[in-house]
């Protein structure tokens, strides 16, 4: 089980901050033909479309802000929000509407689910209100958005029989995987391994494909964003799920085996968790999202015969981490874990806190450094070997 550290000062003297929950919502739903409204004064939209959304220039997705003003907030003028959304929906005819909250709506106690119900009643368009508040990371927001799709959009399967060896990919957004072709590499690998991909939540799939997700035999959760949807699909349709990413030869083999077993409803026996001594100092420390970082960490252990620890500064579920890993939400939480590590793999904006005795290997993430290092974000499914060589081991 990972270790959760409580933060006191919540400060970042020199490092960046992860994309927020509202960006996660918008990113998750970006390609699906819906309309996402960030209920905010100003700023969320430009932050999202500048730093968190590499598809903004080329894809005409409907992500807007409500442009909340002081008087509307004080007077609790929900009618204006409802009217503005309904007018825009009448013009643009979105397939669904998602409303995401920010700090002031949270403080006012804005009832977004009730507002969504009114809009859905008035327009006939599926509408969901999501309890984001800009105080959590994109993992939380994207997770809520995917969960809403699983609850509201995915339809019952057309036949009782699931499509054999079929899979949904859950939790794929540019915030974790950029737009460097990782989604294509994953689909290709799965196809070449005998799986048919029903849908990818949510890059490269249509809303209709998402709707048919109930037909898949198994779900593959590729980031913590995908877990809430996987749990909901399991609840609704009994679809089993596997978490992980196919990185490295052995890691890929393990993951495919798990997927096949899960698709065939064969129990996957997990090795019992071993105790990690408090004095454990890993050779390699990775900072990042839990699923991808653990997959990479295991691949490095396979390839390099090293010990690793993942520090997860984002919301995650304990079961997505390994015994030696830890949640460390900010700079003050992270620093103590870095003592003694020989190699730190993290986004380049973590470089200022790399200990002087450690080597720093940059692994940019759109969710942390935004567009700054976009060109250097590797497709680890395809290019793991090249990345591994950069460790110099």
């Amino acid at each position: 089980m990972g270790v959760r550290l409580l933060s006191v000062k919540q400060t970042a003297s020199v490092i960046s901050i992860y994309a927020a929950d509202v960006s996660g919502v918008a990113s998750a739903l970006f390609e699906l033909g819906g309309m996402t409204v960030l209920h905010d004064a100003s700023g969320c939209n430009s932050t999202y479309n500048t730093h968190d959304e590499p598809r903004w220039y080329d894809n005409d997705s409907m992500v807007f802000i409500s442009a909340l003003s002081e008087m509307e907030a004080i007077m609790g003028d929900d009618d204006k929000l409802i009217r503005d959304i309904e007018e825009t929906a009448a013009d643009l005819t979105p397939a669904f509407i998602a409303i995401a909250g920010t700090p002031i709506p949270m403080m006012m106690g804005t009832d977004l689910p009730a507002i969504a119900a009114v809009i859905e009643h008035d327009t006939g368009i599926p509408c969901f209100g999501l309890a984001t508040n800009s105080m959590h990371s994109y993992i939380s927001g994207a997770g809520m958005a995917f969960e809403a799709l699983a609850e509201r959009i995915v339809t019952e399967p057309r036949t009782s029989a699931r499509r054999q060896n079929s899979v949904n990919i859950l939790g794929m957004t540019p915030l974790d995987f950029s737009v460097n072709g990782t989604d294509d590499s994953l689909r290709t690998l799965l196809s070449e391994s005998g799986f048919s991909v029903v849908s990818t939540w949510a890059m490269g799939s249509t809303l209709d494909e998402i709707r048919r997700s109930s037909e898949a035999a198994v779900n593959l959760v590729v980031s913590a964003c995908g877990l809430p949807a996987a749990l909901e699909l399991k609840r609704r349709f009994g679809t089993p799920f596997v978490t992980g990413l196919p990185i490295g030869e052995k890691g890929t083999s393990r993951l495919l085996d798990s997927l096949r077993r899960a698709a065939a409803k064969t129990d996957i026996k997990k090795a019992p968790a071993s105790q990690v001594p408090e004095s454990f100092v890993p050779d390699v420390t990775l900072i990042g999202e839990s699923v991808a970082s653990c997959a990479l960490a295991e691949a490095l252990e396979d390839s390099l015969n090293v010990t690793t620890r993942v520090l997860c500064p984002l919301e995650t579920q304990a079961e997505l981490l390994r015994p030696q890993d830890a949640e460390a939400l900010d700079e003050t939480d992270i620093l103590p874990y870095l003592k003694g590590t020989r190699l730190l793999i993290a986004d380049p904006l973590y470089r200022p806190i790399c200990p002087s005795g450690a080597t720093f290997l940059p692994l940019p993430s759109e969710g942390f450094s935004g567009r700054i290092y976009r060109r250097e974000i590797p497709d680890l499914i395809r290019d793991y070997k090249a990345f591994c060589e950069k460790t110099g081991r």
Binding site: M71, D84, M106
Partner: protein
């Protein structure tokens, strides 16, 4: 998506004939879209003008994200820190402690102690009634060697008085310490960009023997502090006026607003008022006017009847620029803005009467997401948003007037329009750079 009527986009409430537009709000309010044209400066860019200053933002993660990465993209992450607000801080009433202790924690970890810290609080502090007086009193008590500027990132208040942009321009100069007045020094206050050395304003000031200070040219905090001694603060941008008023109240520095504009009579009036404030003879405008006429004629000879589009980020006076160009034979076809600058009422009335068919386009209305961004014919844009929405690569890449001013500014603008018309730019790359002119690692 967007309904089409007779194969034309339905741009009701999003585009309007100037002849049918109302002043100062030609479009209704509603949901808002943000285009990928990002050259306009934000509060981080402006506050970075304080030499050796350090910015600390206290707000929710989502609000921090945009400002942190603004700093990172301009290679200034070492001058930027943040304190993240979580739900418990809103509920527990410990906001004041969070700010004070957080700043102390940050200071203990900074490799260099900054002479000034610009602390940005946010909408949350306003709504929970955070005792900011107490916060700043404690900070000044604990860190007497550091100047603290009270700054605000509270966009929810943007319709309730000064905008965050105006507030930042004002806050920056609260760092100036009172000083003995120097009758030979004047300041340009509140501009993001340096005013051209060749401009009417700078030349007149220098030729009269005055030292001219401008934060954009200061390299050290001490140099910045020299601005406190100037007897006169000149402003040329509407968003800078609040800064000059605050300095007049606090330091007794006189203020003079001589706005960037494009009408010859207004330029002459500005020059006359500047000369009067400096107590120097007013120069004869005839030679400068003649140069302008020549420059505009030369530009027209090249650009001809090519349609021209102007947006409000290029200049605070888009209507004034449009009028100047139209009166000199250019074919200004469209203007992109969301609200009119109140100073442009005269130009609005003139254009409404003389050129009612000019099309006004909003930039933030949701339908603009789907507007046809491919002008069929060659089009010259002035400003990044005009370039984006028309899909042209022929554009003058400036913000906030580009540092140009007066008759000299018009000559330069004519030159830049000619250059832009003759040489294509990579609009896609250029307009996505945040804070044009700040330096960017992209």
């Amino acid at each position: 998506m967007l309904k089409r009527i007779n194969d034309k986009e339905d741009l009701t409430d999003t585009a309007v004939r100037l002849g049918d537009a109302s002043f100062p709000a030609p479009f209704p309010s509603g949901l808002e879209y943000g285009s990928p044209a990002r050259g306009a400066w934000n509060i981080v860019h402006t506050a970075m003008l304080v030499p050796q200053g350090h910015q600390i933002y206290v707000c929710a993660a989502g609000c921090l994200r945009g400002v942190v990465l603004t700093a990172a993209e301009m290679h200034a992450e070492d001058r930027f820190s943040c304190i993240s607000i979580r739900e418990n801080n809103v509920l527990d009433g410990d906001m004041e402690t969070l700010i004070i202790d957080g700043i102390e924690d940050i200071l203990s970890r900074l490799p260099v102690r900054p002479p000034a810290i610009l602390v940005y609080t946010s909408c949350i502090h306003h709504f929970i009634g955070c005792d900011l007086s107490l916060v700043y009193a404690k900070l000044r008590e604990r860190f007497p060697d550091i100047d603290f500027a009270e700054c605000y990132m509270n966009p929810i208040m943007r319709k309730s008085g000064l905008t965050p942009d105006e507030l930042t321009r004002r806050s920056v100069y609260t760092l100036l310490h009172p000083a003995d007045p120097d009758s030979h020094s004047v300041n340009i206050i509140g501009n993001d960009l340096a005013t051209d050395e060749t401009s009417d304003l700078v030349r007149l000031t220098h030729s009269a023997g005055f030292r001219l200070h401008d934060i954009t040219l200061c390299r050290t905090y001490a140099e910045f502090q020299n601005m406190a001694a100037s007897f006169l603060n000149i402003t040329t941008q509407p968003a800078a006026r609040a800064a000059a008023s605050a300095l007049e109240d606090r330091l007794g520095q006189k203020q003079l607003y001589v706005p960037l504009c494009y009408g010859y009579d207004e330029i002459d009036e500005n020059t006359r008022r500047l000369a009067e404030a400096l107590i120097v003879p007013c120069p004869d405008p005839s030679p400068a006017r003649a140069s302008c006429e020549k420059a505009l004629a030369a530009a027209l000879a090249v650009i001809g009847t090519t349609p021209v589009a102007i947006d409000y980020t290029a200049t605070p006076r888009p209507l004034g620029l449009a009028r100047l160009l139209l009166e000199h034979g250019f074919h200004v076809e469209r203007i992109y803005l969301d609200a009119f600058n109140g100073e442009e009422k005269k130009d609005f009335c003139f254009l409404q009467e003389q050129f009612p068919d000019i099309k006004l386009y909003a930039t933030i209305r949701p339908k603009m997401r789907f507007v046809n961004r491919h002008a069929g014919e060659k089009l010259l844009a002035v400003g990044q948003k005009a370039a984006y929405f028309t899909g042209t690569n022929y554009f003058v890449n400036i913000i906030e007037g580009g540092g140009m001013y007066g008759y000299d500014g018009i000559c330069r603008m004519a030159g830049l329009m000619t250059e832009a018309f003759l040489a294509e730019k990579d609009a896609r790359s250029l307009i996505q750079i945040k804070g044009w002119g700040c330096g960017c690692c992209l």
